[in-house]
Symmetry: C2
Subunit: 435 residues, 2 copies
Amino acid sequence: MEYMTGKLSSMYKLDDILSAAEGGIVKTHGFVHKIRDMSGFAFVVLRKSDTLVQCVIDGEYDFTEGSCIEVEAQKKTDKRAPNGFELIVKSFKVLSNPAEPMPVTINKKELTTTLDINLQTRPVSLRNIYEREVFRLQEAVAKGFREYMHQNGFVEIHTPKLVSSGAEGGANIFKLDYFGKKAYLAQSPQFYKQTMVGVFERVYEIGPVFRAEKHSTNRHMNEYTGLDFEMGFIDSFYDVMEVEAGMLKYTFDMITREYAETLKILDVTMPDADKIPVVKFADIKKAVAEKYNRKSKDLYDVDPEEEQLVGKYVKEEYGSDFVFVTHYPTKKRPFYALDDPYDPNYTLSFDLLFRGIEITTGGQRIHDYKEQCEKMVKKGLNPEDFESYLMIHKHGMPPHGGLGIGLERLTMKLLDKSNIRLATLFPRDVTRLTP
Amino acid sequence: MEYMTGKLSSMYKLDDILSAAEGGIVKTHGFVHKIRDMSGFAFVVLRKSDTLVQCVIDGEYDFTEGSCIEVEAQKKTDKRAPNGFELIVKSFKVLSNPAEPMPVTINKKELTTTLDINLQTRPVSLRNIYEREVFRLQEAVAKGFREYMHQNGFVEIHTPKLVSSGAEGGANIFKLDYFGKKAYLAQSPQFYKQTMVGVFERVYEIGPVFRAEKHSTNRHMNEYTGLDFEMGFIDSFYDVMEVEAGMLKYTFDMITREYAETLKILDVTMPDADKIPVVKFADIKKAVAEKYNRKSKDLYDVDPEEEQLVGKYVKEEYGSDFVFVTHYPTKKRPFYALDDPYDPNYTLSFDLLFRGIEITTGGQRIHDYKEQCEKMVKKGLNPEDFESYLMIHKHGMPPHGGLGIGLERLTMKLLDKSNIRLATLFPRDVTRLTP
């Protein structure tokens, strides 16, 4: 009888080779990233999961760029080579050869194609080291979020994306037939994460979010990854903001520590989130209008150009890349938002702006049954359509609140990209459903 | 100017109270889980995120079961109380009162309702301690998977669920209109995780998976959570199985260590995955047919009853709860499965069975462009329909393989449940789209 016992082969990472002795024999593998053919020998750069490794091959070879090979080689210090060593190849084995050459040049420092070509050839263009590391940074952001959540007693949940009603209202929702019934794709895990506050007090979810918005912009996607949390027994919605501030600080510190090589390739440093200013919606709109002599185009929201000015304002006045804008008008916030008892035209809600763009929407939710039913009616909704959601209010909920962060949006701004598509693995927009 | 600096209030966890001194004053909160009214005082059991806490209240109180309250109390050792202490309440504050009593009794050890009532009242029934801990165990399984992946160099990815073609074929796929084009909900992240092997070598994803299967069974859901990984530069598909064996062992050990209270409430222990037997499809079918004198109903697959017998067989013969069944017939495996070069009627693939039920399907994939195109044609597919997927084969892929695990299915079997709905937070089946 043969058994599996969980033993793994190694030499797949840079560390494995680094820890080998000078002059020692190592066995490793990789994609042939670049070949520089000299007379009688060749420099062959291998692309491994986390680095480039320079090999020197003496004599003939039967592979091309794009091939996958395995080598047995002697490690030799060479300060000019990446990571300070070369592999002098003793023998190699070709694992596969490509059928055709690359449609884009991936072995330069950065891609030099247009955005369109980059996205059309995504399965290949992502093999460029710079493009690749964008998504290692994205992994890091999700990791930081998750670790901070776990350390602070939030429980991870997985809630359904096939739902019977939208949480955010409006027309931007995908519909489909579900065994003869009408179903929708979840615009957020809103109802379910609130529900789970009744179970675990603090919950979080990382999952896809679907928005059927018909307009194409540089900062919206029709499918993106939401980092969502929700917490009960809050004193006010400031508690939610404190958790976000703490999470960002933790995440940026962790990334600086654990993802140094990625940051180097991407040529970025993590921003400072130690002290995030808090301003009221009405106040910051006034301050920005005065300072930059610009009249807002939207009484009830912050328009995109105004958002940029808010970013500029807090950078100039408080030296911060981030700003919490609070107390958004009731008119533009969803039906579950808790009104400010001092002025019900405003809600106990906030956005977090990062370098002039909204990356988070959050706030305190209504927890009282009667109050929630009444606000639904006021918003033109029928409480009977939300029977299972309202079960939580009916049978007892603590004061609670939460937020949602767009993972791609945050990644985009960390890298100062002007288009969110460059921070999305396989973007979905009005014209793009493939790759 | 006000700032957020990431400071969090505490006393939300059992640990916070446990670490307080005997006789000390603590401030905490919770759901009123149970009230036992005595003459002149009352025992009030608070349900907190991770435990029950017994409070003693002297005199009047204006809340009911289902209320949320905050208490200031003195900690007093009492061996009869949960966790060995009571809280002698000095003052309390009612945060909210329910509008109606619970539709099901949630404060007994286990729910005593029917499955239907349990699922219909999910937002409330999940507040039962036993029901709740099922999903803490589920969190733990996902956590173990993720930690093991990360430790072994797998990078986390988030791939689109809106896709232009199905990966698994067949009719069980949800369709929707995507801005005038036909789109589908991903049946698995198959194409994308293979694509990302070309980028990161080793990748994993935890995300929703959609299957439009019209039949209702006790072990299928129309939406579930997939734990998927894919790895490049494998020697054979046995490498994939080794990673799974290692991951299961790691996860079960971690859960036993870190989730002891959950296991106690659920009254389970983690299974032994140290040595998982490996048997060939054809061999085990023969062995089971002989031992139990039963003819298989499916030449090309293992039928559900047969699966149970396979489980029984490996338990009796090898003392194992798990068994890898390998070399499934080409006829029943998808077009990307690599054929066995020694007998192309079989594929280099496997299922992992756990206590007589399949929890994983995996195998080695075709990496050669020509071979993949030919197999598509043989399976009645047109390679032109898979242009962007085939880009990876065309431009160079290493030998690679991977697998998918159903998170709810695994949770169900760990708890020896007979119905997967009891291991699914908000189940989606032919008749259920809500809660």
